[in-house]
Amino acid sequence: MSSEPTKPAKPTGHDHQQTQLQEDEAFIDALYQQLPADKDQQPSDFLDKRIIKAAYQAVATEPTKINKRKITWFHFLATAASLTLVISLVVQQQSHILPPVDTSADLVSSSQKNKQSSDDEMIVEAVEEFSVTKPMMENTSTNDSYAATQYDQQMAITQPVMINSIAPKSISARQSMTTQQSALASPLAPTALTSIVTVVKNQPRKLEKKSYQSTAKIQQINQQAFAMTKRSSPVNAATVQKLTLAQYRIYREQDAQLSAENKLRWSLISEQTDSYYITIYLSDNNTASYRLAKTDFRLNTLPVKTHDKQTPNKQDFSEIILKNE
């Protein structure tokens, strides 16, 4: 049995590189062994001290855990204080935006003490706003017509009571008084009035809104009425002088010379059996009161519309006619 001798493996490029590398490494190692040991080569003492000192300073100036806790505690305190401030500011702002009901009612009462007509408007609007029982009764059935009639009667009785009681002052403050007065005024009214008061209690927001609208209207009316009352001074029958024919003619001549915008106006204050009491509004914003004998003069009232309603007779401007002319 013959066996072929194994051929030695042919060296590859990789093996050659490895051999070369090992030889180079051995050469360099041999060179380094010939070199003297360079133990004396080291950084200076001055550099050593600088570096060690820097290392100690870095550790010494490091913030401790206690400081971190303090910072955290102050952080939470500052956050809580900021939140409290913001919330209080918001609450304060909202209180300015929506004043309480009593305040708005006081505004109304202070401006409405002498204006019964404006009170009437406000109360009528309030009654219309909160009277929810009437539509329900109308929609129920024909058999309920009697109930609807009863409701109208109750409202007719209730409204005057409310005009006297609610309007001049705060509505909320007067609710109990309204109930008592209505109960005394009419035995038919208590049920309807109680329902109205209940609705007012349950819907303060609506009432506030309505109060603001009424307040605006009332203030407008008051301004006009105040101007009227300012111009018309109270008349004392004893001191008012009689308008003579000569004075009357002088006024008429002056009036004829004035332009249409500045014409003299005459207002009837009161009427007696034998005379009229008038006020003349002069062009320089002054007034003069006179008594006109019915034997000499006759008055034609000129209805003037204010606020879509005719004002009372004494507020009307009058046309003076001389009977003997």
Partner: protein, 198 residues
């Protein structure tokens, strides 16, 4: 306490200190014990200084870069993780410091080399033979003549004793590229120093 007891205690302390690893010392220093840093510094100050000296820099510049390197380590003590080998971490900082220096002083490179050949390898003539002094100067000159990548790999492996894998980690290069640089550096040095073969 007698002098014998004190001496025994110092021996014990040295043994304990020797057993503590670099990584443990660094963690201890990061927690606030500055004495741990002193031990670390004593262990590695020389290799770091040599790393810069062998780069062809003057003693003054090498000390300046040593100072910067250790300061960076001090400032980065909180970021150190025990998973990284301390020597690798330290030499990575040293290498980055060197790169920054080269970027700043690239125009003064030749001047520094000339200075280096005179000062960095200032062997004491009284203690070394003339042949050894010539060999040292020739080695330093040949190392300085290597390309930057090859010189860096050669010094890390031959002078600092890092493995190819560690050098690849320090220089953030591929392992094969590090091997290649090592091989070419050896070939160049062997060719330049062939006259000094004993």
């Amino acid at each position: 306490m007698t002098q014998a007891e004190l001496a025994l205690k110092n021996i014990d302390k040295q043994l304990v200190d020797h057993d503590v690893t670099d990584e443990a010392l660094m963690i201890t220093y990061a927690k606030g014990d500055a004495s741990a840093f002193e031990q670390l510094y004593q262990r590695h100050k020389r290799v770091i200084f040599h790393f810069f000296i062998k780069q062809g820099l003057s003693t003054a510049i090498a000390e300046e870069l040593c100072h910067d390197t250790w300061l960076k380590l001090i400032n980065a003590r909180k970021n150190y993780q025990i998973s990284a080998q301390f020597r690798t971490y330290l030499f990575t900082i040293a290498r980055n410091t060197l790169i920054d220096h080269k970027n700043k002083k690239s125009s003064q490179k030749e001047e520094a080399h000339a200075d280096l050949t005179k000062t960095a390898i200032a062997l004491k003539e009284t203690e070394t033979s003339n042949q050894q002094r010539q060999l040292a100067q020739a080695l330093t000159a040949n190392i300085a003549a290597l390309p930057d990548a090859q010189r860096e790999v050669f010094l890390l492996k031959q002078e600092s004793g890092f493995s190819i894998d560690q050098i690849a980690k320090i220089t953030t290069q591929h392992k094969e590229k590090v091997k290649s640089s090592w091989r070419y550096a050896l070939q160049r040095l062997r060719k330049g120093l062939s006259d000094y073969v004993i």
